[in-house]
């Protein structure tokens, strides 16, 4: 073996070690969460965790249904707000706006992703929560407030991924469609969006992952009562908030129950990511 070949092999080997160690850290975290969280789930029964409505850790009652419902409601609300806004912005910026305007606005939107979530939460608490309390009633700390804040927080993700997938649609499709007598909007609706569809869906699911995983901003505006919210003006607690709120003082089975919360969150996010991967690979095959 020549010296160069030896060098090559050495580089390959060290890169392999580095890659493996990064992956193994992730694997260890996963194993740890499951190892800490699953025993209690089986001890009390999966059903009492997933469907139990009462969360009284001091009385050994670990029903997570309010938090599961809370997370899903808040996430759905965020999507109802963030997706139409994000998609409309992306369509405008790619298909209708002046190129110079896009060049200015796109980095600005991406900058929004860099604002710390505690700042979003603070703004929500200072302006949004009183606004809701004064105009719609209720405590203000609510599903609505959390959904609005999260909807805004996922905008950068939805917009920039939608822009990328709309840009990836070949211009020749647009020309072809317009030469067939379609208007710009018909072209967008019938050709561009269907062609970019799976990229857009992947963006929405990543936004959804962000919404479901967001903790700080949600804690600040959601009210955090561990009950299934009766309306969008009622307070709500999400899975992530549940962990963050109680981790400081939890011990014993309470601590395990918080890990169980993490397991459920983990599984939900894995499912969403898998859906995102499947939809985006399906596009490439087409």
């Amino acid at each position: 073996m020549t010296k160069l070949e030896k060098n090559d092999r050495l580089v390959k080997l060290s890169l392999l070690v580095i890659a493996l160690s990064a992956i193994s850290v992730l694997a260890i975290i996963t194993v740890f969460i499951f190892e800490q969280g699953t025993p209690i789930m089986f001890r009390y029964g999966l059903k009492s965790f997933l469907l139990g409505q009462d969360w009284y850790p001091s009385e050994k009652s670990f029903g997570l249904l309010p938090m599961i419902v809370g997370s899903l409601m808040v996430t759905l609300g965020a999507l109802l707000i963030g997706v139409p806004l994000g998609l409309a912005s992306a369509i405008f910026l790619t298909e209708f706006s002046h190129r110079r305007l896009t060049r200015i606005l796109k980095p600005v939107i991406e900058l929004l992703a860099g604002i710390p979530s505690v700042v979003y939460g603070f703004i929500g608490l200072m302006f949004l929560v009183p606004f809701i309390r004064n105009n719609f009633g209720g405590p203000g700390l609510s599903v609505l407030a959390a959904s609005l804040i999260l909807g805004i927080m996922i905008l950068p993700t939805v917009i920039s991924i939608a822009i990328d997938s709309i840009r990836a649609v070949p211009d020749s499709y647009r020309e072809g469609s317009i030469a067939l007598g379609a208007t710009r909007w018909q072209t967008v609706r019938m050709v561009v969006l269907p062609a970019a569809r799976s990229g857009i869906i992947a963006g929405i699911i990543l936004g959804m992952g962000r919404a479901i995983g967001e903790t700080m901003a949600v804690i600040m505006v959601a009210g955090n009562a561990a009950d299934i919210p009766g309306s969008i003006l009622a307070p709500v607690r999400t899975l992530t908030s549940n962990i963050a709120l109680e981790m400081a003082y939890a011990s014993g089975e309470h601590r395990e129950a918080l890990f169980a919360t993490g397991v459920i969150l983990f599984v939900i996010i894995m499912i969403l990511n898998t859906i995102a991967n499947v939809t985006s690979t399906r596009q490439r095959k087409k």
């Binding site: 070949p170 020749s172 030469a179 067939l180 379609a182 087409k286």
Partner: protein, 252 residues
């Protein structure tokens, strides 16, 4: 007596500061195949884009002079651009079927008009594919993706798609530049038979193609119309030295 369909008068086109067409004057007769030849960057494709106002899509595009299509000034204030583009169907150099099924590609433009009658759409699909010489090859797989067709088939699909709009003019921008000789022959055959119902404007880099199927040929160079005449005249007794030089392959 030949009827004039399109009249181009003192027509110039600019991309920003660059002039891409310089005072073009020509007539296009109904039911003829007009071949347009010329070296790269001669303004052939721009000329086509100006005829159905696809040049509107390019920022900084500007025109002077007039183009009359069926006596209507197409740069006039009351022009329905969408209707104009239906009247002058366009086939591009690279066949670009939309990412839809064969069937949906063909009825795309028809649906845009709001026609969703299944039986009529079926009829349009069959007629258009028949005229484009593709029907027998695809009739059993109309509902499969158009992107799976071969290059030659895709190009004939694009022609069929344009025919479905019932245009009066068909403009083709180097329609066979990426195709093999047999596909090219099939498309030339389709064009010959389409001539009786349509007026065809064919931009081609292949001068032999113009010689084979064009009734008249126009030679463009650097944004100018150098000459236009009956095809045999242009090819055997060109009146301009530049035409002669181009046809002999001295540049291009």
């Amino acid at each position: 007596m030949k009827q004039r369909g399109i009249l181009v008068r003192d027509f110039s086109h600019y991309y920003g500061q660059t002039r891409s067409l310089n005072r073009i004057n020509l007539d296009i007769y109904r039911n003829e195949i007009l071949g347009i030849i010329g070296p790269a960057k001669s303004g052939k494709s721009t000329f086509l884009a100006c005829l159905n106002r696809l040049n509107d899509l390019i920022p900084g595009s500007r025109v002077e002079g007039k183009i009359l299509v069926d006596d209507q000034d197409i740069y006039g204030p009351e022009v329905d651009v969408v209707a104009l583009r239906r009247k002058l169907g366009m086939v591009f150099a690279t066949p670009v079927p939309l990412p839809l099924t064969i069937y949906e590609n063909i009825v795309f433009g028809v649906r845009l008009l709001g026609n969703n009658n299944r039986r009529e759409l079926d009829q349009v699909v069959e007629d258009s594919l028949e005229k484009a010489g593709l029907w027998t090859e695809v009739k059993d797989r109309l509902h499969t993706s158009a992107l799976k067709l071969s290059g030659g088939q895709q190009q004939r699909l694009c022609i069929a798609r344009v025919l479905a709009l019932k245009p009066q003019y068909i403009m083709l921008d180097e329609p066979t530049s990426g195709l093999d000789p047999i596909s090219t022959m099939k498309i030339e055959d389709s064009l010959r038979s389409l001539k009786k119902d349509y007026t065809i404007i064919l931009v081609t880099n292949n001068t032999k193609q113009a010689a084979r199927i064009a009734d008249r040929t126009a030679f463009f160079m650097m944004g100018e119309l150098v000459e236009i005449d009956e095809t045999p005249v242009v090819f055997t007794r060109p009146s301009d030295k530049r035409t002669e030089a181009y046809l002999e392959g001295k540049f291009g």
